[in-house]
Symmetry: C2
Subunit: 692 residues, 2 copies
Amino acid sequence: MLEQLFYPKSVVVVGVSENPENLARVIAQNLFEFQFNGEIFLVGRRRGILFGREIYPTMEHLREGIDVSIILTPAHTIPEIMEACGRKKIRWAIIESGGFSEYSEEGAKLEKEVLRIARKWGIRIVGPNGIGVINLENNFVAAFPPLNRKIIRKGKVSLLVQSGGVSLTYLNLLSSANIGVSKMVSMGNKIDLNEIDYLQYLIQDPQTEIIGLYLESIQRGRELLEMARSTSKPIILHKANIGETSKEIAKLHTSALANDDHIVETALKQADIIRAKDFRSFINAVKVLSLPPMKGNDLVILSRSGGIAIIAADSAERYGFRLFPMKKSFQERIHNYFRAKVIKPTNPLDLGDLFDFNLYIKILEQVLKIKGVDGMIFQHAAIGDEIQPSRRLIHTAKELSFRYQKPVAFCYLTEEEELAFIKRTFDFPIFTEPEDALSALAVSREHYRKRSLSKEKPPDYSVDFNRAKRLIRKARKEKRDPTLPEALEVIRAYGIPVADYQVIYRKEDLTKAMGKIGSPVALKFISKEGIHKSDIGGVALHIDQIEKAEEVYDRMKRIGSQKFIGILVQKMVSEGKEVILGGKRDPSFGPVVLFGLGGIYVEVFKETSLRVAPLCRDDAEEMIFEVKGGNLLKGVRGERPSDISALIENLLRLSQLMVDFPEIEGIDINPVMVLEKGAIAVDARIILREGS
Amino acid sequence: MLEQLFYPKSVVVVGVSENPENLARVIAQNLFEFQFNGEIFLVGRRRGILFGREIYPTMEHLREGIDVSIILTPAHTIPEIMEACGRKKIRWAIIESGGFSEYSEEGAKLEKEVLRIARKWGIRIVGPNGIGVINLENNFVAAFPPLNRKIIRKGKVSLLVQSGGVSLTYLNLLSSANIGVSKMVSMGNKIDLNEIDYLQYLIQDPQTEIIGLYLESIQRGRELLEMARSTSKPIILHKANIGETSKEIAKLHTSALANDDHIVETALKQADIIRAKDFRSFINAVKVLSLPPMKGNDLVILSRSGGIAIIAADSAERYGFRLFPMKKSFQERIHNYFRAKVIKPTNPLDLGDLFDFNLYIKILEQVLKIKGVDGMIFQHAAIGDEIQPSRRLIHTAKELSFRYQKPVAFCYLTEEEELAFIKRTFDFPIFTEPEDALSALAVSREHYRKRSLSKEKPPDYSVDFNRAKRLIRKARKEKRDPTLPEALEVIRAYGIPVADYQVIYRKEDLTKAMGKIGSPVALKFISKEGIHKSDIGGVALHIDQIEKAEEVYDRMKRIGSQKFIGILVQKMVSEGKEVILGGKRDPSFGPVVLFGLGGIYVEVFKETSLRVAPLCRDDAEEMIFEVKGGNLLKGVRGERPSDISALIENLLRLSQLMVDFPEIEGIDINPVMVLEKGAIAVDARIILREGS
């Protein structure tokens, strides 16, 4: 659907002048320099000639139906220009000006106005406040910073970048690493088109094989996840704006709202989006994904230096690789190659004082031929006379890597200029230190491992949906959250076991209720108002005498005054391990399920795990053991293990509930007691979305 | 003392030939190329002429008293050459050959032989199995890889590197970053001289301002710590050989024994040795230390890109910096500079579409002038026409950084070749991404913070040293470890409170003992043999009846048979929080004190903290709260806090005990019960060193 935006037949650049400091002028310059294969029109306040083309003083001089307008004029002039675009039947506007919501409230109003006009005319907007759009397939380079045609190479990586400066940085870093680019959008404030729209296009785009994203906010997280799951193209995301302080400037910068980073982290993992924590790891990920995949965990390290082999082995262990154990026969074969026999053929293989490049190639190929070997690091270093043969070595390493379809992560330590030359001219990624190469190989391994798993489906339990719906609808109608018994009924309707209880509205019913449930009981205050009952003394535990119960009843009724509507008499569950289950609705990623240990653990260790719903069984199990204390449930010090599968089932049912009811803002099931057999909810609270 | 080694007046290179592939020949070549300012002699098997000098066929042709011999011949020839060196009164040998203990058992024997001969003649050895020694002060470049005089620059960083390949890598990386080197030793197998000897020299060396170390093993850790504490020169250590797999190759490589990395990590922190985890962070640390110090925590970020400002702010938060809040007046002053007012002057300050380099300099200086600002990141990006003015900007940034004595970490994103040029030719460190700059500034901040602290002294408690000594001596005499009551007495002699107990050897004494101590009691098996008493049922808790106690006595006597010598009747301490105190003797770092929570915490969370003894109060306190569960001692859920200062005192007394008795291999005080008032040891075990 964005075909016309990326492949326009005609464009107009609005805002140009003959003044050499004019910024829009550079847009035109880039289009001419890269030899854009479409028609170019120019509009500016003053008539003139630029690059052999007339500058029209208004849009009115243009013919109708130009495909794309690229606008870089002061913010306050944009609404009028958009009207003019509309009249001229232009359907795409790339607005590169700043001064909108990222700058001031006035700017925010202006932004709304621009969007309103666009909607009226059916114009789609890129930006504002980005540096533009680049497509190297047709040399549509509509960006205002001056770009160098010799440096930016066409290739298979497409980029969606929120910030202008970061767009340039990535263009530059990719070029330096000799990684070609297909398309790039500097998305800016994303008032209309956003990453989801562009992503949809790039996933279909045959020229794009790897997608890189830089985002300061994820506003449609759920769609992002779905999109990532729908494609086999690797998606690498550099998400900034994580900290408290950066939130503040991000707001100024591209009006980005910060996300809860714990949710972001988990969600991206669930959808196999590769997260890059900085520029370097982004580039390393792109590099490794342009090599054959690392299909397993068995690695060989070849190194010209024993010391660097050790450093590489440290890194390999850090990233969980196994150093493939070389068979004796292979060792002997290699051993015979060595001129001076002062080095042992092991893995890592220290090529030490072997100064024979042909031998390196022989060994490299022998290693790649071994069936169990999944990939390799070749740690090379050269200066002076060895620089020339090293270039040949790199060529061969590339050829062998692709012939045997195994990644050879080539680390090369040499003079900086030579490295720059190699990186720019060889179509093969070069790493500079083992840590980079190994972290990258780990990215490849994880990516292809996840891709090869047949994704388990979330279970679909048969539940009493209608009962839950009735309860929730009733509360909503009365503009309140569900009461304690309603909340317990909702989760029970979804098959989560709840400790036996009775609700009573009169003190006289206490005896009967206690008789039915059996002592000891817990007594809990019921109200229609959202109050923390334990804060006001609304919970009494271990009550086993009716006199005591009556006393409690009176006290609760007294403290609660009008808020009091009754008492919940509940079976005490004292044994088992306390855990907390929760659900919340993230504005970007939608329903999320949480897990944590209860009691002192949550207070002291403050650990919780979470997953974006719906969960499948593996997710639920991982959640439990992601929390360090999760192992307590397996039984320590001779205790019998707790019923972990019952707990998993509760998590899955909670996930289903969160997915089924968008009306629910949050749920707290705290605690759930995990017994030797079964896992029983003792308390629950449900918060509905306001105005839902 | 190593003066003559680094500044020889005459040297002989042994092993040279006219053959262009000969390695020793390159040593001579380097000496000539760098214009070593001393006399050079050459020895090789065949007579010949090399670089205008005669090659002598044996050492016998040399005059007596040449300062240093540099040897690169097959390993088996070295003993004979060493004898010849001895006879010729040469006092220093740099052995660059491999094939010793790193290669085979035979090589290990050879190594011992070489060392024996050296000792006989009073020769000190560098290596073997390194690439040599470099001193750029007198151009003594005695290394066998061909080095480029144009690339390696003289400066103030000295390096001690265990591995040859890593030596070259560091030389190369430092050159690329335009960091000058004073001296470098490739230490190899360190059979004689090791890092401690070299370090001692470099600390005194007026040309060395920063010391960099690469080690695969730390064999004299305690001395390393003492040395680091004795100097104000920053020491940066890249310690490799951390993982299980790398241990194996390190052994092959330079015969390095791996250290327990947890101890290494802590010990280095205690001595303010900066630990670099990889090449990059080593270089970043060197870079930042060549800037003025980061004396506080208040940072300003200036950036040409709002997006990269956000990335920098994320990193700043990650490293605990505060973004200095700009005063309104400053904001206004800056605001007036802006041509197009589309950017808000805040911190980070987004220089956005300000395209005026003079203005950058003005703002930079204004910011450095602000009193509360401790340092700055300047995030710059330029291509094309902006490259020239950027060079001037960098010059000025350097000048201002030194004028105001505040670090300006300059991040520069530009074309790779330009970056290589700048890095090589400017005497000012350039960072490539915010993450690097901020991690480096954090290194500077921590280093100068620690330097500015007046180091607290470990306390010196008055203890009953003689009593402890008597007990330990008695056990050693009998070639056994102390019994349970002896161990309890030893720690009690050091002032660690122990739960009341009586030792009885006859069942008849049970009643009296229980009467004296008061029920309930714990009964514990006493033996002279090192057995885990709880494994054999040798511990009975909560005994409050004499009949029960007698039954236990009989049972323990029966199961213990000859090993049984008596029973310890001890007051039960049931309240309080269980913690574990321990001591162990690290072969490299000496006495170490450990702390952990007891009970299920140690099993599930497996957290312990440690410090190299002697501890001061702050160390002990940090240890307790380094363990996540340490907060339990502060009291959670309304509990009263435990007596943390009593616990600290126990740790300090244990530290003193470990320091006073080198005979002790390990101590376990498990558990100590930390009460509301006091912290009491309930059980203790002491292991003595074998043959000590």
